[in-house]
Every structure is written in C-alpha cells, then in structure tokens.
C-alpha cells in the first residue's frame, strides 16, 4: 500500500501503454462475460421450455410434420396453422394411461396492425388447459373472456389496449412472463374468441376447414400421461388409435434442443479458453518487454532506496490496476452488447434463450472483473519476480 500512489502515477504518465494493457484485458473480460451470459441464458431457456411444455405428448395432424416444423413454432415463434377434427381430444381420452388432454387451435394472423409479420394466435380451453393456463393465471386474476387476449412478453401491447386481428377488435388483458421461447411472440385467447377469429379469417379467404368440411377443429392436443404408465407405450397406443395424427413426445423435442445447446456451449467454452490462453501469453510477453524497457527507471528507484520486493509489488499493482480497469470496461461492453441484442441473439441461435436473474448476472460480472485483475497480475508475476532480482548497476550499464 505504501507504494500505491507511484504505480498509479506510472500508469497515468504513460497513457498509450496503459490503454493498450487495459484494452487487452478488456478483450478477455468481454469474451468471458459475453460467453458466460450466452451459455447461462441458453440453459435458463431450456429449463423454461421444459416447465412451459407441461405435457408428455403432443398430438398434431400428420401434415403438421411436413407443413411446418412443429418444433420451430415453440423455439422460434414461426407461425403455423394446421387443423384436425376436434373429436381427437375425446378419442385421446379413451386411450388407457391418458390422464388429461388440452386442445389448442392455432391461427396465423394476416399482417397484424402492430407488425410487419404475422403473429401466431393460439386458442386454448381455459377449463381443460394445463400448459398455458397456469402461466396465464400468474398474470391474469380474472377469467379470460370472449374477445380478450393475453399476449406473450415480446408482443409490445399494453394491458387494456385493443389489437386488431382479421379486423376483429381484441382487448389485451394480460401479458405473460418471458419464457425465452417462440411462445413469447404469440397471442392467446379462449376458444370462443378463436372461433370468431376463424370465422373472420374464413371471410377473408383464409380457410381452416379440414377435408371432411367440419368446422369444429383443433391444431394440437396436449396429453398428460397418468403416473405409472410408460409414456412410450401410451404414445404408440395414441398413434395406433388416431388416424392422420402424429404423436410427438415432448422429451424428444427437449433432447434435440439440449443437444444443440451442448454443442453451442462446447464451441463457446473452447473459444473463451483459446482467447484466454492467447491473451495470457500476450500479456506475459508484454509485461516482460515493459519491464525490460523500464529497466533504467527501476534501477534508479533501487539506487534511491527501493528494495527489489518493493519494485516487484509495484509491477504487480500496476498490472492488477490495469486488469481491474480492463475487466470493468470489457464487462461493461459485453453487457451492452449481450443485453441490447438479446432478441437478435435468440433469433440467430434458434434456441430457447432467457437471460438469468439480475443477481446471477451481477455475481457473474463481479467474478469476471476479479478474474481479469487476478489474471493480469498473474501474467506480470514472472516479470515482477525478475524485477525483484535486478542489479541496478548492471541495469544502468545495459541501458547505456
């Protein structure tokens, strides 16, 4: 501490050198904090997807698998509309092992008045639903009435605001909490509202009728399997009993996402390790060269009474201060980038992406800054050790 002011003065007097060292450490901190936030957000998103799906099996029309990737609807918010006979819900209940079923009807809006793209409208049966309804109940205390809608957190519509879908005025009564999935960009309504919207869509030439001409349609049926029953067996029974219907195990969807997440995590972690290894070597070389360049300065300090250890401590303090400043700059820059462009990162990755809670982020930021300061000090440790053993006479002669 006795030498603390001198290292600071040294850093201030050489702004170019200090800036270069700070920027190098900032690059390290940026890689660590940015990479860690992305990996954590993907893991949080996956947990959220698991919690949000709620069902063991999802029944969709066979055409849904070819028409649109059902998984894309959940992960990226791609709009899709496919229909099957509503009787599938009751038929599924007849299969042994099925505890409960919840139908959902999808409708891709025409370009809504809010946005330049279509939005996905999902009709649910609040009485039967066990997938979305628990989430809606967190935001909406009353009932989801006719022509009322609940929006995903990524649809910017205030509560009480009217949005128009197929020229039908729908009132926003609640907004859902973020899930990090494509479901955040959807709009939810009850089946009464959905039937009105389907009729309005029909009037505009967007047909939802199935080949039988039946008006009573659903897009997907979520199935919860009773405890003690094997999900695969129930899945096979449903596929066997229901014609033109595909039974998708939610676990297979999550496993696919989990595999992609593991791949991305590996890539990001490898990149961060490579960046750190390279930067650590560069920092070590930089400090050795800096100490060599300043050998006369240190020799003079030795001659006026500074001990070798004092000089070593001074070099360590200088590098730690540079590391601290670089850590703060790098973490700040990474925070600006990762938080501002989270929507872009999510859509680019095509995976569930949900930022961790602020407490975790603060801890991560503090850890990154401390790590940057420690690594910077560690990189200069060898240079500091050599400095503590320098002979002032030799240093001055070599300098000449």
């Amino acid at each position: 501490m006795k030498n603390a002011p001198l290292p600071l003065k040294n850093l201030i007097r050489k702004p170019g050198r200090t800036t270069a060292l700070v920027l190098l450490t900032a690059f390290l901190a940026l890689a660590v904090f940015g990479g860690s936030v992305i990996i954590l957000s993907l893991r949080t998103g996956l947990r959220s997807l698991e919690a949000r799906l709620g069902a063991d099996i999802i029944l969709v029309p066979s055409e849904a698998q070819s028409k649109i990737s059902f998984q894309n609807m959940f992960l990226q918010g791609t709009t899709g509309a496919f229909y099957m006979d509503a009787a599938v819900t009751d038929k599924a209940m007849g299969v042994p092992g099925v505890e409960k079923t919840a139908p959902q009807t999808f409708l891709a809006s025409l370009k809504a008045d809010c946005c330049s793209v279509k939005i996905q409208v999902i009709g649910i049966d609040p009485e039967k639903d066990f997938t979305v309804q628990p989430w809606i109940a967190r935001s909406l205390t009353g009932e989801l009435g006719d022509m009322d809608v609940v929006t995903g957190c990524r649809v910017e519509a205030g509560i009480g605001e009217i949005i128009r879908i197929y020229d039908q005025r729908c009132k926003v009564v609640a907004r859902l909490e973020p899930t990090g999935t494509g479901l955040d960009t959807a709009v939810y309504c009850n089946m009464g509202t959905m039937n009105t919207l389907l009729a309005a869509a029909e009037a505009k030439g967007v047909s939802h009728k199935i080949s039988s001409g039946d008006d009573s349609v659903v897009s997907a049926v979520y199935v919860k399997v009773k405890d003690g029953y094997d999900i695969d067996t129930v899945n096979s029974a449903l596929t066997g009993k229901l014609r033109k219907v595909t039974a998708v195990r939610t676990r297979s969807m999550i496993t696919g996402v989990s595999d992609s997440l593991a791949g991305i995590s590996r890539t990001v972690t490898t990149m961060v390790i490579v960046i750190w290894a390279l930067a650590l070597i560069i920092l070590m070389l930089a400090y050795i060269l800096i100490v060599r360049e300043r050998s006369r300065e240190f020799a003079v300090l030795r001659l006026i009474g500074a001990s070798g250890n004092m000089l070593g401590r001074m070099a360590l303090t200088e590098s730690a201060v540079c590391g601290l400043a670089g850590g703060l700059v790098g973490t700040g820059l990474a925070a600006i980038g990762v938080f501002s462009f989270s929507a872009l990162i999510e859509s680019s990755l095509g995976l569930p992406y949900l930022l961790p809670d602020p407490g975790t982020l603060l801890l991560l930021a503090a850890g990154t800054v401390i790590l940057s300061a420690a690594v910077s000090a560690l990189a200069s440790a060898f240079a500091a050790w050599r400095l503590s053993r320098v002979n002032p006479g030799t240093a001055l002669r070599e300098g000449n």
Binding site: C114, V117, R154, V155, E156, S340, F341, L344, E346, S347
Partner: protein
C-alpha cells in the same frame, strides 16, 4: 488542439455509420407487401439525424472558437437520436422484429457513443476557454 479534434473525428465516423446504416445493415423492417410501417419513418428520421450529425462533426473539425457550441448542439442531436426509435417514433410491437432487435439497440448505442464524444469535445473546448480567460 488534438483533444478538441479527436472527438469530432469520432463523431464523424459514428454519424456516417448511423446515416449509412439506417438504410443498409441497420435498416428497419422490410414489409413483404411493400407497405410501410412506423418503423420505416423512424429509419428515415435516423438517416436525417445521422446526416445532421455528420455536418456538425465537419463543422466542429473546421471551425475555431465556435467548436464548443457545435459540440453542445451535437450532444442535443444525439439525445434526440437516442429517443427517436421507440420513444418519439413508435416501432413494431414485437421484440423479435428487426426494427426492435437490431435497429433500435444499435442506433441507441451509436448515438450514445457519439454523444459521449461530443461531451468530451465540449469539455476539452471548455477547459481551453477557461485557460484563456
């Protein structure tokens, strides 16, 4: 002198990125049917503000004693630029839309950086004026 010129150079580069970006890599949403939404006009406004900031940056580089005032007015332009996408001119209502996911955050960061440069320039000029008196 160098301390007063460098912020002007930084502002000039950032303003050009803003102006060019507003209709290229940071452009608002493109509607499939060719119609225009509110975010289109936000993009136009940002193009105008970017050009205005570029002119102010050139003036800051060329002028002598008026530099302090030019930096202050640039700061005001940057504040308007930060507020334009989303606050002064509404954007699409979905967070995943290009105007919200790309244009808005990028423009806010660019205008904030330009504003910071303008503030540094104004402080450097102010310090010099104080030294003269």
């Amino acid at each position: 002198m160098k301390k007063q010129i460098i912020p002007g150079c930084v502002m000039l580069v950032l303003s050009l990125v803003i102006a060019i970006g507003s209709f290229t890599f940071l452009s608002p949403c493109v509607h499939e049917d060719g119609s225009v939404g509110a975010c289109h006009w936000a993009g136009r406004a940002l193009l105008g503000l970017g050009c205005l900031l570029a002119v102010l940056s050139v003036l800051a580089l060329l002028s002598g004693r008026a530099r302090f005032g030019i930096y202050l007015s640039s700061l005001a332009v940057c504040t308007v630029g930060i507020l334009t996408p989303g606050t002064l001119i509404s954007l699409c209502r979905m967070d995943s839309m290009r105007c919200r996911a790309v244009m808005q955050p990028a423009m806010i960061i660019l205008f904030a950086a330009a504003g910071l440069a303008a503030l540094c320039g104004a402080l450097a000029c102010g310090r010099k004026e104080k030294g003269r008196t």
